[in-house]
Symmetry: C2
Subunit: 227 residues, 2 copies
DNA sequence: TTTCAATAGATAAAAAAGTATCGATATGTC
DNA sequence: GACATATCGATACTTTTTTATCTATTGAAA
């Protein structure tokens, strides 16, 4: 679907979560010198329905795909990059420089996905002042002013569960508009603040339950792949 | 809904992913001495629709909720525990004792959720032989025999992306039936192997896109909370 | 040049997930 | 003891997401 066909301006959340997968795979294709890609190929590789992939691509591609060859890799990557905001970097702060916080803070891969975690905060005085791969760790007190001064909109919470709500409140007060929450507690936020929870127990529940269901009946024969 | 009303034996995946949230919250209630809980209370706390919560609970609760008071906390926790398999521990191995691997390997919280990561594997000879919080780290070569000997069915992949498929293949060959994949690559597996992907870029895409949409139009007024 | 298989795009159907509504029923209040 | 009300359970409905089907078009091979 090219833009003139009035694509639905509202993107499906599910589409959105698949796009990075497409992007990642197509990037690798490009690195291998491949110049065009079909939805069938993508679907096959990602265990998805080809029609679903086609519809997803239609949402983001600025040009129609060519019958018989598919989509041009270069153009498609540009469109997806644009669409996902991988070009214009979003800046974020992170609170809680524990083990998980460190992983996120020092993971260089986020830059590729348009996220720049500019600094980490922690209440531990022994951590404050240190740097991890060039990322400063500052005391919590400095959070509000930095957020405001830099106009930062995204906050990442990687503190222990029992401190998450308090940190969340401080973030909101400082002006943070979107929170990526790695603590396994629901956060209470004002209506205009966005929260995305990352929770492993939920994922695990799905996996474990399916595995448990498996034993009695051999069931279906298609590979079951969950994102 | 009590069991006699022929509850749909197929559980919604979405229900399954919410159950741990209920469980966690209700556990805290119990710790506070609360003895019964209503779907409205749960819903309010978790930003969900009360009807949705009620339907979820109906799937797992062995007894009907009481009008006016809701569900008995003790019984409900037992039912959920049973349902989610938090009682009977699943054993798992983990491959890739890097930063992420270490978090999972040493996180004591998984035990509460019915997962026991018994050992970590790594190809780095300097890591092998060490222990992390009592969890041994062994060389990859020992993986197949251990998996077979202990009848382990779950494998966790926390290696760099470019090694994930290879590790996956080895796991499958060893007899692993379900894989929890923390690498950001799709895994090719036989049709009878279960894969659950954990991918941060997908989550990020949803968050970032919603945030981007936010700026132009102030839009809705309800808090937007994603799991 | 003609034929043909692969592919996109569009539309329709189905499945999954979530929401609204209503009557029934305990529980506490008057 | 009657009544008001919070809550459940069931049904019906809506929305979202996925899948199926059909047509047109294109590029490559015969």
């Amino acid at each position: 679907m090219s833009k003139q066909n009035t694509p639905s301006l509202v993107v499906m959340k599910s589409t959105l979560s698949r796009l990075p997968l497409y992007y990642s795979y197509i990037s690798r294709l490009q690195a291998d010198g491949v110049e065009s890609v079909s939805s069938a190929l993508l679907a096959g590789h990602l265990n998805l329905n080809p029609v679903l992939v086609r519809k997803d691509l239609a949402q983001v591609s600025s040009v129609a795909g060519h019958p018989r060859t598919g989509f041009e890799v270069k153009q498609l990557l540009e469109d997806m990059s644009e669409y996902l905001g991988y070009n214009k970097m979003d800046e974020a702060i992170l609170v809680g420089v524990g083990s998980m916080g460190r992983i996120l803070l020092t993971n260089t891969k986020f830059a590729k996905f348009g996220l720049n975690i500019v600094v980490g905060f922690d209440k531990d005085p022994y951590l404050c002042g240190l740097q991890l791969d060039g990322k400063h760790i500052l005391p919590m007190e400095k959070m509000p002013s930095l957020v405001q001064r830099m106009g930062i909109r995204i906050g990442i919470i990687t503190v222990p569960d029992d401190q998450a709500q308090s940190v969340c409140d401080q973030m909101v007060k400082a002006g943070i508009q979107a929170i990526w929450n790695f603590a396994f507690v629901p956060l209470k936020v004002p209506e205009d603040v966005l929260v995305k929870n990352e929770n492993l127990p939920s994922s695990l529940a799905v996996l474990a339950h399916k595995l448990a269901m498996r034993s009695p009946l051999p069931k279906e024969l298609n590979p079951i792949i969950e994102n």
